[in-house]
């Protein structure tokens, strides 16, 4: 039907299309698989702890558990003893009258004095040095939700920003707030050693 030369071209084209589709689909699947996402990363936790209940329903302040956020580089994950401040008393029962499974898990960790191995949702590379206190106090005055999203609506915490350098720089490069010292040309410093050292 076609010349042999043209036929060969069709075969080559078909091979290219098929192989690129295969590669594209497999890479795409990998990339969009929830566990591999930057934004939308939502790992399962050892205890199905719901921020929607604690922060949303009961309106417990973030700082009650993440207590060093305003003083330190790390917001800190609370020690189990913080959970036990309430859960020594509050041990809700399920329909069958047993203490709820998640609270049972917590009590077990507490009795054995074993640390709870939470999965890290917000993680930075080791060469990036982020300081919570700088972002929450003084001139910056950000809110937790500005970077972590509406955690009070999340049953299982999900990452809402990429934490890429560009994302951070975009914020730092905004115009300085009123009342900033005269040398401040951007909202926050943008030289390398601000975050890298």
């Amino acid at each position: 039907m076609f010349t042999r030369k043209f036929e060969r071209r069709i075969y080559i084209a078909a091979a290219v299309v098929v192989s690129s589709l295969t590669i594209g689909v497999s890479f795409g699947t990998y990339a969009l698989w929830p566990a591999n996402l930057e934004i939308g990363y939502q790992p399962a936790q050892p205890i199905e702890f719901s921020h929607a209940i604690m922060a949303g329903q009961f309106k417990i302040e973030c700082i009650y558990c993440h207590s060093r956020a305003e003083q330190s580089a790390h917001a800190t994950i609370p020690p189990t003893s913080t959970c036990m401040k309430c859960h020594t008393e509050i041990q809700t029962k399920d329909a069958r009258g047993a203490v709820k499974a998640n609270i049972q898990k917590l009590l077990k960790y507490w009795e054995e004095k074993t640390p709870i191995p939470w999965e890290k949702v917000y993680d930075l590379a080791d060469f990036v040095y982020f300081d919570h206190s700088r972002h929450l106090t003084a001139a910056a005055k950000l809110d937790c939700v500005d970077c972590h999203g509406k955690v009070e609506t999340m049953d299982r915490v999900e990452r809402v920003y990429s934490l890429k350098m560009r994302w951070g720089l975009d914020c730092h490069m905004e115009p300085p707030p009123a009342g900033s010292p005269p040398w401040q040309k951007t909202r926050a410093p943008i030289h390398c050693s601000t975050c890298h050292r």
């Binding site: 591999n36 580089a73 709870i116 300081d131 003084a138 050292r197």
Partner: protein
């Protein structure tokens, strides 16, 4: 004028370098699939309960005492998340006042050393401590003879425990073994003053100092205190201080030492002539110059310098001080006591302390005699005689013991040879106390739970004492060594406190209690001193005199396991990972020996093979070897080389001075690695210096020696007028070149160890180095030292050649190196005129890691670099950010001067390094910059460094000025 190649200077038109790179990166990113860069999943684990005061990632400092060295210094240990990460000097300790030594800084590395033994062993198999105690207890109860050997540096609590042990075990005898000690000096003091104690030099009050072979700024005595006192009188131009406040240092020495490198007049002198020098000076003070002239003629010394020295000692009565090296025979020390008395030193520049920090050392002959017939139990606590026994051969004495018990931090030569090998806890895991000076007591507390199944030596001795004295109710009430130390303190130093618990906790928090008791020097017993000082000293005619000195970093070998200290360039020779026999150029030429030639050194039948090091400044007819190398059983520093010089140690009053040794060619050679290849300034104005006369003629004399022509500025100017502008000033007059800053920097900034082979290729990684230049007569050179690190230039040559913008300029004047962006072209290092950039040719960190434990030694606040990345001094930007962030969070923009201190400045005992903000009108660094002595290195290149130096002003005797450094352009060649 038209530029020759206009296209080079024209601004980029269409595609800039940056855009091109972005396009390249974008296509690379397209080639890979998006989203593939998820980082490894990690966990965040909180504690079940948090200890009081401890918050994740926030430092907690503990006061403690460094007990590993010859002198107990106050130590402040920074812990992060429960693990110690950095050691600093304790600011409140009167001896070291916040400064630290290289070995002290390296305590962090030895704590996490993977070579530390993990559990007690008997005959090669693991045993429990209970089994150990049972065996030792039984052996002690049944023994007819017991010998206990310890170090001299036991604290007061340990000394009291030893007494109780001896009381409980009447057949036991206690001996003290050290190779480096000041026994000859203390013997002379005991004779001259009739009591045991120590003379303390007050260098801050001394205007004329004569050191007779005493390396008091290097390894002899409480060097941190000495450096601070000495440096205080070597600074001019600061505030109202004129040149008249300068002290004058004469050093008559056999070896070339750190002290000699700082001398105004250096007199190369063999040790056997040191007594003649002191006696000659005494005669000269009494009006008879004959002896000095004869000595000058006989030894080939500069008679003018000796005359100047005699004049100065006579003229500056009450402000002069003479010190003699601890290795010299007692006769010299007795003569020095007499000389000091005659120049009015006691009470003025000398004080007395009844409490010597160390125990008196026993003669090896006495220990040998006690061990000769074989003892039932031999307890070796923290000593390593198999390695360092004078003359060697401790193994035979050890094998004669019924039960030998070795207790040490490492399974060293001795511990490994004992029947019971017991691991000791580290200094940072131990309870202890110390008495550095009369009236000053300090506490040592653990800052981490023991990492291994180890126990500290005192704890073991306490358990064994309890086993021997089951009826002792006082002892039975004390559960452990902590209780013992606490009870000692509550019954002693803290006795009478209203609330014992509070007093104890207060003492722990401060780390040190009391103030130095200023005691008058007892009256000199002249006839006894004269009797002891009777010469002449034994001397050789044909052979060489040998001096055995402790190594500047490894000391007597106790720190040889430390990679940091093995790779620490010895301040004089810049030798790493090795030791050698140092000979002066004339001596080496006479013996036809070249550097690296192996020679056999023989003394009384013992021979040691060492490579030759040709060291300008070593006196004629003298050979110098350092102790501390050639350890066979090492920890992580497996490459540790060198030869053990301890078999050459003599017996008798002064074992580290051998009046006669023979050397012969052993054939072959060993490659000696010195990290500095040339010691010549090649006539360039690198280290600037002048004499007091130069300074008095024109305080701005350094300007004459620089030629910084007006330059056209190619770069845009940085505007630092607002905000901070960081700068560092180094006072070359105060810096003595001890090198504590180098190890402090290494500890703070995770600088890796690379090993001898890599050092030989010039790949050492030290961010901070000490350059040393020698000029003048090679037999007695003038020495100029200079701390060199990244100069943080404004017109930084490195920044303009980086193709990926991995090195950039901060608005606060820092030259930043961004590791994650660096691709390792090394253009920057090539273009750096100061050669301070360091490149990771291998993944040195990973290469050194053999155990996860080692990772705990890293400072988590500084990125650990991997292979293919350039690195260099950052001005400790992590410390700048820490302070700045803390203050900003508290709502203030202004940073008080001195709040930020880089690791080097914090460690420096001389206070020679000042860091600060030049925009702060009150800052010290700004004042230093305004000094007439301030200059920048290679100013003519117009790179505009942020580091500046204050020229050194020496103070030679005006009549002997010919021997002083020539004051020409750029210094001597």
């Amino acid at each position: 004028m038209k530029p020759e190649r206009p296209e080079v200077l024209a601004p980029p038109s269409e595609v800039s370098r940056r855009t091109a790179l972005q396009l390249l990166a974008a296509s690379a990113a397209l080639a890979a699939a998006p989203g593939c860069d998820r980082k490894p999943y990690r966990r965040i684990v909180s504690m079940a309960e948090t200890p009081e005061y401890q918050h994740p990632g926030e430092p907690l400092d503990y006061a403690s005492t460094w007990t590993e060295g010859q002198v107990p210094y106050g130590m402040m240990i920074r812990t992060l998340d429960g693990r110690p990460v950095k050691v600093e000097g304790l600011p409140g300790h009167p001896l070291n006042r916040g400064a630290s030594t290289a070995a002290m800084q390296a305590a962090i590395l030895s704590l996490y050393d993977p070579g530390r033994p993990r559990f007690p062993m008997r005959g090669g198999s693991r045993v429990t401590w209970a089994e150990v105690d049972e065996q030792v207890g039984e052996a002690l109860r049944a023994a007819r003879s017991v010998v206990l050997i310890t170090r001299a540096t036991l604290g007061p609590a340990e000394r009291s425990l030893v007494k109780r042990f001896l009381a409980a075990c009447p057949v036991a005898r206690h001996f003290v073994h050290e190779t480096v000690h000041d026994g000859p000096r203390r013997e002379a003091w005991r004779t001259a003053y009739g009591r045991d104690g120590a003379l303390r030099p007050c260098l801050e009050r001394a205007k004329v100092i004569l050191s007779v072979d005493a390396d008091f700024l290097g390894t002899d005595g409480a060097v941190l205190e000495a450096i601070a006192g000495f440096a205080a009188n070597r600074v001019v131009g600061e505030g109202a201080r004129g040149a008249e406040s300068l002290s004058r240092l004469y050093v008559a020495e056999s070896a070339m030492t750190v002290t000699g490198s700082n001398a105004d007049h250096r007199i190369p002198l063999r040790p056997s002539a040191s007594l003649a020098l002191v006696e000659g000076l005494r005669a000269a003070l009494a009006g008879d110059r004959g002896a000095l002239d004869r000595l000058a003629a006989q030894e080939g010394l500069d008679a003018k310098v000796l005359e100047g020295l005699a004049q100065d000692l006579a003229a500056r009565r009450g402000e002069a001080l003479v010190l003699a090296g601890s290795h010299l025979p007692p006769a010299v020390h007795a003569a020095v006591c007499l000389l000091n008395d005659e120049i009015g030193a006691p009470g003025a520049t000398l004080e007395w302390s009844d409490a010597a920090p160390a125990l008196a050392v026993d003669a090896p002959e006495a220990i040998s005699a006690a061990l000769a017939g074989g003892v039932d139990v031999l307890l070796l606590l923290g000593v390593n005689p198999v390695y360092d026994w004078p003359g060697g051969g401790f193994e035979e004495l050890l094998s004669g013991a019924g039960l030998s018990v070795g207790h040490g931090l490492f399974a060293d030569e001795t511990v490994g040879a004992c029947a019971l090998s017991l691991p000791s806890s580290h200094n940072l895991e131990s309870w202890n106390d110390a008495q550095a000076l009369a009236g000053v007591r300090s506490l040592c507390q653990p800052v981490i739970a023991p990492l291994h199944d180890a126990r500290q030596e005192a704890e073991s001795l306490l358990v064994w004492t309890k086993l021997l004295a089951p009826g002792d109710a006082g002892l039975a009430a004390l559960a452990d060594w902590h209780d013992y130390v606490r009870a000692e303190w509550l019954g002693g130093v803290l006795a009478g406190a209203a609330d014992a618990r509070l007093a104890w906790e207060d003492a722990l928090r401060q780390g040190v209690v009391g103030a130095p008791e200023r005691a008058a020097v007892p009256p000199l017993r002249r006839s006894e001193a004269e009797e002891l000082a009777r010469g002449p000293l034994e001397r050789t005619e044909g052979g060489l005199e040998l001096v055995l000195l402790p190594h500047h970093a490894l000391f007597d070998g106790r720190f040889a396991h430390s990679g940091w200290l093995q790779e620490f360039p010895e301040p004089v020779s810049k030798l790493v990972w090795d030791n050698a026999l140092a000979l002066g150029p004339a001596t080496a030429a006479r013996l036809a020996l070249a550097e690296g030639d192996l020679v056999e050194v023989r003394a009384e039948g013992r021979a040691v093979t060492l490579p030759v090091l040709v060291q300008p400044g070593v006196a004629r007819g003298v050979a110098v070897a350092t102790l501390g190398h050639g350890r066979r059983a090492l920890g992580a520093a497996r490459e540790g080389g060198g030869s053990n010089a301890a078999p050459l140690l003599g017996r008798g009053a002064a074992p580290r001075f051998r009046p006669e040794v023979q050397i012969s060619c052993a054939g072959g050679s060993r490659r000696l690695v010195r990290v500095q290849k040339t010691f010549d300034m090649h006539g360039r104005p690198i280290v600037l210096h002048g004499t007091r006369a130069d300074y008095e003629r024109d305080p701005r004399f350094v300007r004459e020696r620089l030629h910084a022509p007006a330059h056209a500025q190619l770069h845009g100017e940085y505007d630092y007028s607002l905000g901070h502008k960081w700068a560092l000033a180094v006072d070359l007059g105060a810096c003595v070149g001890c090198g504590a800053c180098m190890i402090a920097c290494q500890a703070e900034n995770n600088v890796p160890v690379v090993g001898k082979e890599e050092c030989a290729l010039g790949r050492e990684m030290h961010w901070l180095r000490l350059d040393r230049y020698e000029g003048g007569d090679p037999e007695n050179p003038h020495v100029y030292q200079q701390l060199m690190a990244c100069q943080h230039c404004d017109n930084a040559p490195c920044e303009s050649v980086c193709p990926v913008n991995a090195t950039a300029h901060s608005p606060e004047g820092l030259n930043e190196q961004i590791y994650n962006r660096c691709v390792g072209t090394r253009y920057c290092a090539n273009n750096c005129p100061y050669k301070v950039r360091r490149y990771n040719f291998y993944h040195y960190v990973k290469r050194n890691l053999s155990d996860a434990l080692q990772e705990l030694a890293f400072n988590p606040r500084v990125t650990v670099r991997s292979r293919g990345v350039m690195e260099k001094c950052t001005f400790c930007v992590q410390r700048i950010n820490e302070v700045k962030f803390r203050l900003k969070t508290a709502g203030t923009e202004s940073i008080p001067d001195g709040a930020i201190r880089p690791a080097c400045a914090q460690a420096c005992p001389a206070g020679a390094i000042v860091f600060g903000d030049v925009n702060d009108p009150e800052s010290k660094v700004r004042a230093a910059g305004a000094s007439p002595l301030a200059y920048r290195v290679l100013e003519e290149l117009n790179v505009r460094p942020a580091v500046f130096y204050l020229a050194r002003v020496t103070n030679p005797h005006p009549d002997a000025a010919a021997a002083a450094p020539p004051a020409g352009h750029g210094g001597p060649r």
